[in-house]
Amino acid sequence: MPSMTVLAPLGMLGYGIPLRSMDRGLARDPAVLALDAGSTDPGPYYLGAGVPFVNRRAAKRDLTMILDAARERRIPVLIGSAGGGGGRPHLEWTIGLYREICRERGHAFRTATIDAEVDRTWLRAQIGAGRVRPLDHDRALTAAAVDGATRIVAQMGVEPFLAALDAGAEVVIAGRACDAAVIAALPIRAGFDPGLALHMGKILECGGAAAYPRHGSDGLLGVIEDAAFTVEPPNPDKVCTVASVAAHSLYERANPYELHLPHGHIDLKATRFEAAGDRAVRVSGTRFVPSATPTLKLEGVARVGFRTLAIAGVREPRLIAHLDAYLANVRSRVAETYPDGYRLLFHVYGRDGVMGRLEPGAAAPPHEIGLVIEVIADDPETSAAVLALARSVALHVTYPGRQAIAGNLAFPFSPSDLRAGEAYEFTIHHLVAVDDPGALFRVEMLEC
């Protein structure tokens, strides 16, 4: 079989495609442009609120470059985890951006969208049938957690992409997807080994992250053959080395030897990484192990309240020395007015603001500390009211040996109190066993 070249123009739509890398990548005549646009990394807010974590103008620039290239070269475009969280509003946000670009540039593509949101009735039935189990934690999924979730998505594998391509799509905009599947879909459809295709997908999904020097957003080329694939950065100032590519297998994963997808996993135990010239790495030996029971990974978040916060600094050594007693005093004075119905938190930078409970302990007291006062409450007005009181008490309350009686805190901003909006938490991170790994995901052709 002749080789197939895949270009991942970047690791995250909206992080900025370097022009020169795009030109050099396209000069290698890729059969497809495929990219990941999402992650759970920025935390639960974006999935819950239904908003992207990238800037719209930046995403429009990147997508315009991709669609212009696709039109000129008549090659398909696959986008996974559209809009970041990959839920319905994220998909709609991306489709809106896509339509705007097509209108402005005069493009027309046969377009498929793939919905990754999970039907709650179906999921409750799966819980009842014992087909759901926790992933990376030990909390069983309950019907109450399903009902309480703001949004639930499932990660699709290659199957829905294949269905979209079979339906004639030139552009596929998919909700939450396994990042490797987006890039592996076209090679798998062409008959290449799924173990190699998915391993190549896993390396390409972060764009240039598998090349050194590892800075800035960039693209990556993958060339798949019958028994191996080669990865190479289109950026001439970067190189892929055995170390850079092998190390990427570690990234954001608990087990570098396995990568799980709905219909099985890839096994890297016999994988060989070899230099192919000065700038490319050839990878072989990765095996695909089909699963007897396909499983989908579920991600869901619930709103836990509304956040208000204030940022301040403390320079006074006597206050720093009495900090815990001082903060306890602030807490109890706030409780005199507002006994319950909120959570009040203090983040103490300079002490354990970065590591919290994992902090092994500091040596000398710092000469200054940063203090973030945070309130979470069920409604935004309660949150703001409690924070306002906590901030004013913290500014004026006394402590032993106090000399600086005019005020305890240095506020960098006016206003001091910042409404941070809704707060969410991940409440669903589970696997559900399914008969057909593609059945949950609705593929629709879009008039565009």
Binding site: T40, G43, P44, A243, L250, E252, A254, V354, P360
Partner: protein, 114 residues
């Protein structure tokens, strides 16, 4: 301590020591060594077990999910259960990107040459 050995921190021995979420419920720490000799010298000493890592982070050994040697990258990977899922109320590091220092500062017996 054997005469030819001295104490060196993992951060001094390795090229990279880094932390990051592996999904919202796990934190994964990667130690990448500069070459095969250093990697082999490190894993031969087996300086990291669940109890040691747990002590560094104030966790229980059961919270240390796995310690995996990954020869293709000359790396050792340590995975911990997050005390709470990423971004929960009380979070200090949503991406988990700044939790590596206790591991990097952990000192082990290390020979003058490997």
């Amino acid at each position: 301590m054997v005469p030819w050995a001295r104490m060196r921190t993992i951060g001094e021995i390795a090229t990279f020591v880094t932390s990051k979420n592996a999904g919202p419920f796990l934190l994964t720490l990667d130690i990448v060594f500069p070459d095969e000799a250093t990697y082999r010298a490190f894993v031969a000493r087996r300086p990291l077990d669940r109890a040691t890592v747990a002590r560094l982070y104030g966790l229980t050994p059961e919270d240390v999910v796995d310690i995996i040697e990954f020869e293709p990258a000359f790396a050792v990977k340590v995975t911990l259960k997050r005390p709470w899922p990423s971004g929960a109320v009380g979070e200090t590091d949503v991406y988990g990107a700044q939790q590596h220092v206790p591991l990097a500062r952990h000192a082990i017996e290390w020979p003058e040459t490997v």
